[in-house]
């Protein structure tokens, strides 16, 4: 059964040739490949063999796994997951204790040099790694041991990719990312706190389909998903270009869906696929829900200043609009600073507009 190709497995389940093409169309879309690649995806998936995957969860909050298990195309992603051999995932697997560790060791032995490792969570180096251990082994030891026989490693989530929240100042556990620790294996970073489920599955599907990793950028992120910043794909961009900004979360501009730049949106410096892939079965995404992007897929987003502080330095497109926008954003911030907590309390009582500065004065 394990030797069946994906095409054979689907036919065995009664999926017709048209059904298979449909599956391939959905998979290509999930991998952000153009539709003209569908025949290539079909030819490759037809022959795809079942890879062994070992999933290691280190210093993390489990949101990456939560996100993945709530992916919004369960039939497609279910089939992809059925077609990988998830030999170890201590949050999801039924086995526990020695049996679970034995399953990991067996999978490593059997597929040495060929298995794929998925990691979520950062790795604490402090106190000889004692801050996080599984089955009596420190995460750092397990990472080295499992990485040795891996074909490639996928660092899922901002913690595994860049250290994430555990690394936030003062980094009490001396947390590091996967690539800080493993330097001799191909690594793909799939950042996000958590990452978009279809992006995670898309990377797995790419490996499954083509037997190799997708093309990566300088931060080892798959270009198809992280090639453009949020700002470039944001539907509020026309408001930004016209200099129409929401100044508070409940003003006229906010109600009209204007740009959230002055409310601290980090879209211009954040590379991710939220604007197209969206969240919760494609329902919406933070900017569409009225909150600026917090930049959760960027290195050091956790220590990069307040979420509600407008980016003061223009980024990629240094045009007159953004310069004006940046300067205006700062001016708004400075003007709002004169309001104190008392003003905010009164404003709440009277349903007046509250500036973001008021909110940040809360603490």
């Amino acid at each position: 059964m394990n030797d069946l190709t994906l095409g054979e497995r689907l036919r065995q389940r009664g999926v017709s040739r048209r059904g298979f093409m449909k599956f391939c169309a959905a998979t290509a879309s999930m991998m952000a490949l153009p539709p003209m690649m569908i025949p290539k995806v079909a030819a490759a998936l037809e022959q795809a063999k079942k890879p062994s995957v070992i999933w290691l969860s280190f210093q993390e909050c489990t949101a990456c796994t939560e996100s993945l298990t709530r992916s919004h195309a369960p039939s497609i992603e279910g089939l992809i997951f059925d077609h990988i051999s998830l030999d170890y995932h201590h949050t999801l697997q039924a086995a526990a204790g020695h049996a679970a560790e034995h399953a990991r060791e067996e999978a490593m032995k059997e597929h040495w040099g060929k298995y794929l490792v998925v990691v979520d969570g950062s790795i604490p180096m402090g106190a000889n790694g004692a801050y996080s251990t599984v089955a009596g082994h420190s995460n750092v030891d397990t990472m080295h041991e499992v990485a040795e026989g891996a074909a490639a490693i996928i660092a899922v989530g901002t913690c595994a990719a860049y250290g994430g929240l555990p690394m936030a100042d003062p980094n009490p556990t001396d947390a590091v990312s996967v690539e800080d620790l493993v330097t001799d294996k191909p690594i793909v970073n799939v950042p996000g706190c958590p990452p978009i489920p279809t992006v995670m599955t898309g990377v797995l599907a790419h490996f499954l389909t083509f037997g190799r990793l997708p093309e990566l950028d300088h931060l080892k992120r798959p270009k198809v998903f992280y090639g453009q910043n949020i700002h470039d794909r944001c539907y509020r961009r026309p408001f930004y270009e016209r200099g129409e900004f929401a100044e508070t979360f409940d003003d006229e501009g906010a109600r009209k869906g204007w740009c959230l730049y002055k409310l601290g949106c980090k879209g211009p410096t954040t590379y991710n696929a939220c604007a197209t892939a969206k969240w919760n079965e494609g329902t919406s995404w933070p900017v569409e829900a009225g909150h600026g992007c917090i930049g959760c897929s960027e290195p050091r987003f956790w220590d990069a200043g307040g979420f509600y502080q407008a980016l003061s330095v223009p980024t990629s497109d240094v045009g007159s609009t953004i310069l004006t926008a940046g300067a205006a954003g700062l001016a708004v911030g400075a003007a709002a600073a004169v309001l104190n907590k008392k003003t905010k309390g009164a404003a709440v009582a009277n349903r007046e507009t509250i500036t973001i500065k008021d909110l940040s004065k809360e603490s």
């Binding site: 999926v15 195309a73 794909r233 539907y235 197209t276």
Partner: protein
Amino acid sequence: MSGLDSIPVVAEGSRTENLKPLLREIEQALRELIDDAKETVIDLAAMPFSAQDEQDLKSYLGSGEVIATMNAFGPTSIEETGVPGVWWVEHKDAEGRRLTLHLEVARVPAIMVTPADDLREGLAGLQASLSASDDGDALQ
């Protein structure tokens, strides 16, 4: 009225302003179909495109003469728009959730064409049943 219903907020549908460029892309694709028989598929999930944009595009393109449904790995609806050669192809999974929404510029969307292996298997099946009926009297 209770809960969320009691909040008198009406969300305006957002637009991305990608509609016009998309219509130009469709125009170009149609020209290529006529001149070079080149077919084009546009994946609407690959660009920022809101529900409101989709509704606008649907009313702009209108409805054509052909509507087909396919049942393979969940339902698929195939509809020609009011612009001949421009088709909506929407794949859903067995629970009715959308998998992809494509705009296909072609004489016939690719998914509707019978796969060659299905043709051969169909012929073999028909021949087998005909020879079985020659032996018996199933068709009399």
